[in-house]
Symmetry: C2
Subunit: 262 residues, 2 copies
């Protein structure tokens, strides 16, 4: 429970003040905000609220989209926002390919991370490459396996660049065990939720832990064995979860986290 972090996307209909209040109320010690929630109230106000509630920030979601125009400037702001919140990690959703040339997209992403790195180092913020599920390649990320995220981080070779492992994006990988072991020392975040068997929607059908087919305890064990001992974010993009009353949403997240993950 002391490692549970509540990612604001799990309650995307709430304002950041409401997420902060709900976490404090339910004894959650960590929060993982998204930038669109910060934007609603301003970063300074967000930092103040989070700090006054006694919460720690596990990561800021998200930077990246390195293949888009204007990405560099926006990513520098994201680093600054992470630093202002005391978030040690900025999660990178790396962006879709600009054409059918996936190798070019992956190279462009790597160069984008390298350009951002000095600013991240200067601000004491680590950059976490999050591989997304291959079904998200068209609009969100050309980086779709943990293996390539780890290889990219290793090539860049700076301790300020690592990977973020979300079970939803990687659980299907037949080489998951080896890939998590290979990521040892570079794991900057760990996200949990579940894969609902009858998933129709490529974005908004993420499940509550325990409602799907991901062996959360096993993957948690692999991530533990790789030496990661930081916060574990619950991140669930699903309108059915967003529609739950506040006490039920928070209570279910905590109960399922304790039963399926902790």
């Amino acid at each position: 429970m002391s490692r549970l972090s509540f990612n604001s996307m799990t309650a995307d209909r709430w304002s950041l003040p409401e997420v902060v209040e709900a976490c404090a109320e339910h004894g959650v010690e960590w929060i993982g905000p998204w930038r669109h929630k910060l934007a609603e109230i301003g970063v300074g106000e967000a930092a103040r609220l989070i700090s006054e509630a006694g919460l720690k920030v596990s990561s800021l979601c998200r930077g990246g989209f390195f293949t888009a125009d204007g990405a560099d400037e926006d990513n520098r702001r994201a680093v600054e926002e992470a630093a202002a919140l005391g978030a040690g990690v900025l999660v990178l959703v790396c962006g879709p390919p600009a054409s059918s040339d996936l190798a070019a997209a992956r190279a462009a992403i790597e160069r984008g991370i390298e350009r951002l790195l000095p600013h991240a180092i200067e601000h004491g913020v680590k950059l976490g490459i999050e591989p997304l599920h291959p079904m998200m390649i068209g609009e969100r990320s050309a980086i779709v396996t943990l293996g390539e995220a780890t290889e990219m981080a290793a090539r860049i070779g700076d301790p300020h660049v690592g990977v973020v492992i979300d079970v939803y994006h990687v659980f299907w990988d037949p080489h998951l065990d080896e890939e998590i072991a290979r990521a040892a020392g570079r794991i900057l975040g760990f996200h949990v939720n579940d894969w609902l068997p009858a998933t129709k929607d490529t974005l908004l059908e993420r499940g509550m832990m325990g409602d799907g087919i991901i062996d959360l305890a096993r993957i948690r064990g692999l991530v533990d064995a790789a030496g990661y001992d930081g916060p574990i974010e619950v991140e669930i993009l699903n309108p059915a979860v967003w529609d739950l009353p506040r006490a039920e949403l928070m209570g279910t997240v905590i109960e399922r986290f304790e039963r399926c993950v902790a």
Copy 2:
């Protein structure tokens, strides 16, 4: 054009006789029927129609679902139907995991293929393991990468077991080049279509060749280099394609095949 095969799923609203007629009318030499279309008219009648139209059968879709009750009996029938049609290949959609234990599901699939193999050999039908996109793991296939399909075929080690490569399911793989090369000698089929960037639906949004982000010419080149010289099936699951008038659907398939694949 002499390698273009029309998979019946590209016109799923048509009966098999209509698909056969459309292929003959448009100079398509190969057909890849699905079993639910055979069932509507009976296998004997289907074989007669296809043969009378002068078409060859590239494969029969599909056997598999090895993790379901009754799969063995149904798979033996699928082999017999393939043999009756003169289809050299039965495509295997291997089935989803029965639990969160993916390794167990994959082992169960391998044992299922091994049980089916003697019947396939006896009937002169090859079994093509088709890895499906990882987003289809929950309901359709625990086999989600070309690498694991090839490894499974290699372990079974009989020339009657190989892999079917569908660009839609594998294009995202950062190791695609090596994996296609590694599959050399075991490639039993090659399917084309496209990945639409804004894909929301996990099943029914497959694109027409040229409408998406798959580098078809490059993948075709890799499959050529691996020595595959059999028919190339156009398989598009998409109601927007199914709704096209017959001449437009056939004309577009042929035009896009020639432009993007051939």
